[in-house]
Symmetry: C2
Subunit: 431 residues, 2 copies
């Protein structure tokens, strides 16, 4: 498609919107991206770059001339500008900042100063502010004179003489109010967002209160910017992807179409961790080598108990991680939740112990063997419930992301406990 | 907290917004929810019910008097009304519909007729429509007279004499335009959403184009409603949860605070499926019983190869599922992706084969054993890449949700292939 007639491709690209071009680039393998990029109209560069994911964007920026990059950056909204700069290597972003004009550099540096994953990092600074005493008709005349409003403006902000936020006035209210109403009386007491609030919390607030936008204030209640729902949507999607990807041991910026060697590198860490835990489980089995060499049937059944514990534990783990992300699980109900998951582990233990004991007793014609595996299953199910519920809470207290490491640690626990319980009981009762 | 002084609790509840009350209910165990519910102001019932998840909401509705439910339902926006009714048992929702007044019943039945997970199901019908020739000042006067606009209105819709959608006009444009401008000339050619479009696709469009709202049209391009971003946010969150939960074998409506027996039931299916696949893996090992009884060391190492294959395969699986959800992976680049993942499997195979061979050769002082496990690892890594990339595509063609069953099928494949490769090669070379 993309190799022969560049003229045709260029024409096609001209008919696409920036976000569609971004989708096309994301869905292309990395080699083709570099062929496509120069065919895009330079005016669209900033809009397309905004929409790309980190990996893909940086790959393209690496191939651009510095002055082209600066041009594209200067056209971006503050939040996109800040995000793009923050993902570039320090030296590159410093060079770019130096070549930008004064005003753009200042807004970029301000945003960068708040640190990633805060409200200040994702906010825009293009707020329209009003004084409390002005009447609606004056404001409407002013807006008409201005001729344009920043994208996604649904609320104007009222500030007092010290620039402190008094509240927001919805545009729909301005339209429906009588012309001689002072804007003051239209204020809806909107909650404001502190500039250092974590972005996940910002997203939760937007979701809970169905906001379209919200004002951001500094520690003195001065209005410093606003956050709009479209940025929040990106955060929600990214958070969700982060959980899903990290539970599978992937970097969430991993690009489906990255070159083979790069992709392999990115997945190595997790495979390495898994090899280590698999060797640990093997070492536990190794302690029972004498038992295993006497009863080969144990070797055959050795994976069943750990595997069931792993699944049960991961169910609990996932549920608790989700509950914590939604704000449902807090320190206050943690103990109750733990006892609930223990009870489920106990109940699960009974159900699956009876079932597996029956299957094994029938298959291997050995009642004692069935009893041994049932006992081990019982122990491991309880351990799984306990570990699945407590691990995320412990990890959060230690400031470790439970989605990232929770599953490995849990599986290691259920493997070790499962093998110990099964082979230990077998050594004790069957030899 | 909630047991003794109901007066105090009632006072506290009065100071909370509906969404905060909903959060409180969601974070309470099910027994306490029924204690709290009667303490809430009846006027807030509809707003609180809207915010609750399916399981929690139905639990509460079950305890309410029918006329109270009807009152609450009639106050809801169309989309929430339709959603609530659709999750109730058929007989209950029919009874409720019968007691509702004519107008509310009609809007509910219309919404229900579109079927779940479509644009029609999640849309609201409270659009403001304009004729193309009217001037801006007339519209502004009309809106002021009306005095109020539906929640989250950012765009008014222009329809022709046959009620066909001509396009949308942003409120911000109305404010900034000259009073004598005909509304026609302010139309931004907005894309419209067909009423039967799948909601996931609607969410992707909103995300890609950064919309705040979009008009919904039937097959004749008649305007039938609008979808707003706050509903889309819910869909995005639900979709993400669905993937995360179903990969762990959980129902995505699973309620963290449900009673023990109910929770245990909900998790049983997955544990049952896992028991079956674990027994299958055991059956494969069983075929090599003679080998295992002769060399106990094989029993000890038997889990390493399947486990590494499972992790590598799940990485690929997750990445491809995400790529499909984002629209990056299509039939056109599927073959390329498959060959890429095969190449990664091959490269991973080499890396981990060499490593595991060295570890085992050192640990067990047996070079041949190292070679055997390396060969099995190689085979299984390639199988994992192949299965991880092709399974989601095959499942999508068969209309099965890959997030739900993909991981089990994949793990079964990597277990069986891994055990076969390891024990088979060992039987052949070591005995």
């Amino acid at each position: 498609l993309e190799d022969d007639n560049t003229g045709l491709v260029k024409e096609m690209l001209q008919q696409l919107q920036p976000c569609d071009i971004a989708l096309l680039l994301e869905s292309s393998r990395s080699r083709n991206r570099l062929v496509l990029w120069p065919l895009i109209e330079p005016e669209l560069y900033s809009d397309v770059l905004e929409e790309l994911s980190e990996d893909v964007r940086n790959g393209i920026i690496n191939t651009m001339l510095p002055e082209k990059i600066t041009d594209a950056l200067e056209e971006m909204d503050t939040d996109d500008l800040v995000e793009t700069l923050s993902t570039l290597p320090e030296s590159v972003s410093q060079d770019l900042l130096a070549t930008m004009d004064e005003q753009d550099r200042q807004r970029a540096e301000l945003g960068l100063s708040y640190g990633e994953e805060t409200a200040g990092f994702i906010m825009n600074t293009d707020t329209i502010t009003l004084r409390p005493k002005i009447n609606v008709d004056v404001i409407l005349r002013y807006l008409r004179l201005k001729g344009e409003m920043p994208e996604h403006t649904d609320t104007l902000y009222v500030v007092d003489s010290e620039d402190k936020l008094m509240g927001g006035v919805a545009i729909t209210k301005l339209i429906t109010a009588a012309p001689d109403t002072p804007v003051e009386s239209l204020i809806k007491d909107s909650i404001s967002i502190p500039v250092d609030m974590e972005d996940g919390e910002v997203a939760n607030l937007f979701e809970r209160y169905n906001w379209l936008s919200a004002p951001v204030v500094d520690s003195n209640n001065h209005l410093v910017g606003r956050i709009t729902i479209d940025d929040v949507v990106d955060i929600i999607r990214e958070d969700a992807e982060h959980s899903m990807m990290s539970m599978a041991g992937l970097d969430d910026e991993e690009d489906t179409f990255a070159p083979v060697v790069k992709s392999t590198q990115r997945r190595t860490l997790w495979l390495g961790v898994n090899l280590f835990t698999a060797l640990m489980a093997a070492a536990v089995s190794d302690m029972f080598e004498a038992t295993l060499s006497e009863l080969a049937v144990l070797a055959i059944l050795n994976t069943i108990v750990p595997s069931m514990g792993g699944v049960a534990g991961n169910q609990t783990l996932t549920l608790v991680i989700r509950g914590m992300a939604l704000g449902h699980v807090t320190a206050r109900n943690a103990r109750w939740l733990l006892s609930k998951e223990l009870a489920i582990g106990f109940l699960n233990g009974i159900i699956w112990s009876v079932l597996i004991a029956s299957v094994i007793a029938l298959w291997k014609q050995d009642f004692m063997l069935g009893a041994v595996i049932a006992f081990a299953m019982m122990i491991n199910m309880i351990a799984a419930g306990l570990a699945g519920a407590s691990l995320p809470m412990i990890m959060r207290r230690l400031n470790i992301d439970p989605a990232l490491a929770g599953s490995v640690i849990l599986t290691t626990i259920t493997d070790v406990v499962g093998i110990f319980a099964f082979l230990g009981t077998a050594t004790w009762l069957l030899l």
